[in-house]
């Protein structure tokens, strides 16, 4: 064990395990947490009753939402999101949230209650083997059976969740450990010998990368969420401005670079921009920065970057050569490696090459974007709603989405000014993520406007969280894009399944009544002319608001790279 000790008390106080849990998470800087009580966490909740001046506990309505809210909080703030659930069903309900956080590298610590140690393995009431269940969906997990082990377990949990490539961690604590008494002394973990959080940079990899960059004539940077996770937005800007190369982002990487930056050529992937997809074959160098070549980004891997060398800047060695072979892997924290490269490259200008991307954008604008964002007739379009909201909030907002067509529209047409201004479920694609994540984001960044774009399908998947908004008064702006369909599946059915719309039509409730039942202001927009007034009304108050927009039910998201096709086969219609 190798821990640097910062004593929080000279004479160790005697606390219950439950008090030790709360004191430990406070020592880690936690002031907001999300949770749901139950039989095996009653002692922790009892202890929490005395700490309400130091921790704002948000009572959610379902444990899945507790984890998503913690994720939203973490993604908005860059801090560790904290949540707490009971054993058995409470714990299993949280699994989807953990899987989501694992896929999207979101730092979350989940504290779960567990039956007393003497009952473990006996199928006792509300017992599940939660450490076993969550092995595949956590970065690390641990079961604690003795009160004296609680501070060290929580200290390690926070360290592991936030360092290196971040991720979710579960601390499963038996009830007897919660009630036993222990001297309390807290030390923040700074090092775990079996775990390398910040790999040492191999200078040869930097030199090799520099050489490829200097020789390249048609390079493109592929920017991922890793930039924001490393807090390396400034380092990215410096690199791009010296290298002069165009940069495209993954879905989660979008707000790493301002949308308006002249080298920003848009979004990669299945519903990304035309240029960065169709130009893929012409690139002679791809510089991947904190991204993992998800299949939604690469399309058919055999055709991806077929004429390009690949430099891969990545903190997680297991991502290198996983899907796309890297000619030069640069293992390390981007905050370390990017400046080392920037310093050494000779610098360049790629005006003509970037102009080719601009020409692609013009084609895309004429074919798709103009009609999507500024239509003059027909039903309201999702893109125009996103465009109008983005124009209204400018740089003051964090955009949260759920999953589906609206997610792609929101990602495409929202303009990003600041880091951490898009919060969306990328890797797992979890419907129901949006509403709780928006709640978490707003509580983490109360000074920001939090705009949730959500479809009518995903909204109903965690709609119970409107009651959390009612109870906790969270000023989330909910833009419900209602097309009466599970639109993304409907789109695939239309394009690839002979228009057989099997179980994708939704008969929806009256959302105005649901809003009213939860004490949330509501406006319905059915006509284009009513949109501006409704947006103005929505932002007039600080409180939560639901703006339901009836959008075109047959709308499809384009461009589109069909599943299994090369990204250069991107379809514009």
């Amino acid at each position: 064990m190798s821990i640097t000790t910062i004593d929080t008390a000279i004479e160790p106080r005697i606390l219950t395990g439950s008090q030790a849990i709360i004191e430990s998470i406070i020592a880690e800087g936690t002031d907001v947490m999300f949770g749901y009580p139950g039989g095996q966490v009653i002692p922790i909740y009892d202890a929490l009753y005395d700490y309400t001046d130091r921790i704002h506990h948000v009572l959610v309505r379902h444990e899945q939402a507790a984890v998503h809210a913690a994720e939203g909080y973490a993604r908005a703030t860059g801090r560790v999101g904290v949540c707490m659930v009971t054993s058995g069903p409470g714990a299993t309900n949280a699994v989807t949230g953990l899987a989501d956080a694992m896929m999207d590298s979101t730092p979350v610590v989940l504290i779960s209650g567990q039956v007393s140690a003497s009952l473990l393995g006996t199928d006792s009431f509300q017992e599940t083997n939660f450490v076993g269940i969550t092995q595949a969906v956590t970065k690390w997990n641990i079961q604690v059976k003795r009160a004296e082990d609680i501070p060290d377990a929580i200290s390690r949990a926070f360290y592991i969740a936030r360092s290196g490539r971040p991720g979710p961690v579960v601390v499963d604590i038996t009830k007897d450990a919660q009630v036993a008494r222990t001297p309390f002394k807290y030390s923040r973990t700074e090092n775990i010998r079996s775990y390398v959080s910040r790999p040492e940079v191999d200078i040869r990899s930097i030199e090799d990368a520099v050489q490829l960059i200097n020789l390249s004539r048609r390079p493109m940077a592929l920017v991922g969420q890793g930039v924001q996770l490393a807090g390396a937005e400034k380092e990215l800007l410096a690199f791009l401005e010296k290298s002069g190369m165009p940069a495209a982002s993954t879905l989660l990487g979008l707000s790493s670079l301002p949308s308006s930056h002249p080298q920003n050529v848009g979004m990669l992937g299945m519903h990304g921009n035309y240029g960065p997809n169709v130009k893929n074959r012409e690139c002679d160098l791809l510089v991947a920065i904190g991204m993992r070549f998800d299949d939604r980004v690469t399309g058919r891997v055999e055709d991806f970057g077929i004429n390009a060398k690949v430099v891969h800047l990545e903190i997680d060695p297991s991502e290198v050569n996983k899907l796309i072979y890297a000619d030069v892997p640069v293992i390390g924290d981007i905050k370390d490696t990017l400046p080392m490269i920037t310093e050494r490259i000779s610098g360049g200008k790629y005006e003509e090459w970037i102009d080719e991307f601009r020409a692609c954008y013009d084609v895309e604008y004429e074919k798709i974007i103009r009609e999507e964002t500024c239509p003059t007739s027909g039903a309201v379009r999702m893109g125009e709603v996103v465009h109008k909201i983005s124009t209204a909030v400018r740089d003051s907002a964090i955009m949260v989405t759920d999953v589906g067509q609206h997610q792609m529209m929101a990602a495409r047409y929202f303009k990003y000014y600041n880091p951490r201004s898009i919060i969306t479920s990328g890797g797992l694609g979890t419907m129901g993520y949006g509403l709780p994540a928006a709640i978490g984001a707003k509580l983490g960044m109360p000074g920001k406007r939090v705009c949730l774009f959500v479809g009518d399908g995903g909204f109903q998947m965690n709609i119970q969280e409107l009651c959390t908004i009612l109870q906790t008064r969270v000023g989330v702006k909910i833009i419900l894009l209602n097309n009466g369909y599970l639109g993304m599946v409907r789109q695939w059915q239309e394009l690839f399944f002979n228009e057989r719309y099997s179980f994708t039509t939704l008969v929806n409730p009256d959302f105005s009544l649901i809003a009213a039942a939860n004490g949330i202001e509501y406006a319905r927009v059915e006509k284009r002319d009513d949109l501006d007034a409704a947006i103005e009304r929505m932002f007039f108050h600080d409180d939560a608001f639901i703006m339901e927009v009836k959008v075109d039910s047959g709308e499809n998201v384009f461009p589109m790279v069909p599943a299994g096709a090369a990204v250069t086969d991107i379809m514009l219609e």
Binding site: S2, G132, A136, K139, S194, S318
Partner: protein, 176 residues
């Protein structure tokens, strides 16, 4: 091309870690031929030896994913020619005169002689213990068990790398 690989893992002694490691093979649908685990030469650090049949590309990705586990210190992969490997097999057979010939021929150790049975031991490669198994079968083989493979690399690289890693990441290293 698929062939046999031997993976050596050095890890903390943590409940459930073996399960975490084997899950990585499960995800990629790789069958584990054998697995052994015990304390290593360094106190507090456990050593796993896993034998699998797969291809070079897959095994390299798997090893990186194993090493990514928070409680794993280091993982190494070897082909058969890079290691010296051994396993042990035990055989319970009926006592009979015909056994003596086999005991001599295969250089078998006799561990115990009961009233009507004998327990024999053979160390060697899987092919050798299997051969003895086949030879004993006609003579009243009652029970048979094989340990998994244990192995040591022929080169110094693993030892030096592990030493280097621990001196970097464990301030207590050297005081054990």
């Amino acid at each position: 091309m698929e062939k046999e690989y031997i993976i050596t893992i050095f890890s903390e002694n943590k409940v459930g870690l073996l399960n975490q490691v084997t899950t990585i093979f499960t995800c990629r649908n790789i069958n584990i031929e054998s697995v052994t685990a015990s304390e290593s030469a360094i106190s507090g650090i456990h050593r796993y030896t896993i034998v699998v049949h797969t291809d070079q590309e897959k095994i390299e990705k798997v090893v990186k994913q194993i090493e990514k586990k928070v409680d794993v210190l280091k993982a190494y992969v070897y082909t058969l020619d890079q290691v010296v490997q051994q396993e042990i097999a035990m055989y319970r057979v009926r006592r009979s005169a015909s056994i003596e010939h086999i005991v001599r021929k295969f250089n078998v150790r006799v561990l115990e002689v009961g009233e009507d049975y004998m327990v024999l031991e053979k160390t060697g490669h899987a092919s050798e213990t299997r051969e003895l198994f086949e030879n004993l079968k006609p003579h009243g083989l009652l029970q048979f068990v094989r340990s998994g493979v244990v192995s040591l690399p022929k080169s110094d690289a693993e030892r030096e790398d592990l030493h280097h890693y621990l001196s970097l990441h464990d301030p207590q290293y050297g005081n054990y």
